[in-house]
Symmetry: D2
Subunit: 148 residues, 4 copies
């Protein structure tokens, strides 16, 4: 069982890794919370994130699910980790001011954490689930780009 | 069975929709081909698309799978369509000059097409599968943003 | 919002449908509870349900996830329903006296419910998650076998 | 690259493992072919495999997908293997005389094979896709039931 200090170290590592992702900065996502292993990622909606009908693009929702799952799994596993599988079921067209993805590990073994996730659109006080996801995260063994 | 003229109309519609997606323009993806219902989407790798280790971010790969599946399904269904489910299994860290997603419908019924997809990293002549995906596409019934 | 009487009717319908499934009887599964839309399906482990190493076969676990998801979704949708998609991530080899699958709807719209599910092995007081699942359930429109 | 003799050894191993699965015998499935890594599993339809409307139960289709994927992945990896993830999208109610699942590995790395799969209902000469699946198979490290 991790001590409180270890939890804080892990939260700091998670934030550092999250903010070091160029694609995350391109989209503008924030890691809002990792308390108790419950990860919350938030993204402000804007026109460049949308598809042809003005809804948030499914690829943006997939990014949110993928990244929330990765960090929830990484925290459960205690360090650097990668998502090996992610499934997204879309329930509603996504509109609103913000999107929020929430994820936590449901089953953690030595090398793998399986996480559930929901993605919500937020308009003022109003929240609606726009997608539901599940992903598997494994400990990262290869921090360097591989040679071909 | 669609005539050749109908196929050309559908290909033109697909290209128009693809190019009308702001998120697709933000990422820089191109719809390379839709011949025979086999969709190919290409994206040039660049630093802003990457995660903290210099690999292409999983969210970018998920976008490519999601969008290739949507267009393969839309072509199989003969018009505007949305992805209702997408599963991605990641096989290798993604590097290289380009990413290419290829998808086609494996089973099409009146309202739904199920598509298989592979995502490849390309370096010169060298291609490697970096992710394998499956998605379900349904006919779009709501082209306008819903009222909350 | 359904009244208490409607809930009881729905629970009775669920039990009647569950017990009318010949494959469910072949396996010996029981619908333990549907209270509050939280479905619990239980199956006693026995040699014929196993694979070559003495673990419960992945197909049995997939059946449990599929069926728990179908009934959780059907209850959320208020009637007869079918699973259109199910994803299972396996976390541990399954042993023990019983398997229990628990599922509930996470997002319900007019025609579709998306459900999360966990499958547990149970040995006395000891429970362990052996698989985590997600599925989509849609209202059933075709109660009769289709003509080919 | 495996020699022809190695392929024959692997095919023999696959058949021995397949036939050693009690659950596979309970259902009555046969491993029809593994030629070239393309696995075909066949199951004769009968009343005990059905759900309440006389269609083959989704759990049976999930078993077929899971097992076809496991063997396709095991052959790609060259030995004993387990499925760690399987996703099934259902396209049609399943009826007919037989069900056939076909699977092959789409991407194989050192420890993991990702497989695509289709499940067909067969009536005489008539074949229809009833489900489409994708699964991940990993090398088996634990042939013995774990102690709790």
């Amino acid at each position: 069982m991790a001590s409180e200090g270890a939890d804080e170290d892990l939260e700091r590592l998670a934030r550092a890794v999250f903010d070091a992702q160029p694609f995350t900065r391109l989209l503008g996502a924030e890691l809002v919370s990792t308390a108790g292993g419950h990860v919350e990622v938030r993204l402000r909606n804007r026109p460049e994130l949308q598809q042809q009908h003005g809804f948030v693009h499914g690829g943006v929702i997939s990014y949110l699910a993928d990244n929330a799952v990765t960090f929830a799994g990484g925290i459960a596993l205690g360090g650097d980790a990668v998502t090996s599988h992610c499934t997204v079921d879309f329930s509603r067209p996504a509109t609103g001011e913000f999107l929020i993805a929430r994820s936590h590990a449901v089953s953690t073994t030595r090398n793998q954490a399986i996480c559930h996730c929901t993605v919500h659109s937020v308009d003022g006080e109003n929240e609606r689930v726009v997608a539901v996801a599940q992903g598997t995260v494994v400990k990262a063994h290869t921090p360097r780009p591989p040679t071909p």
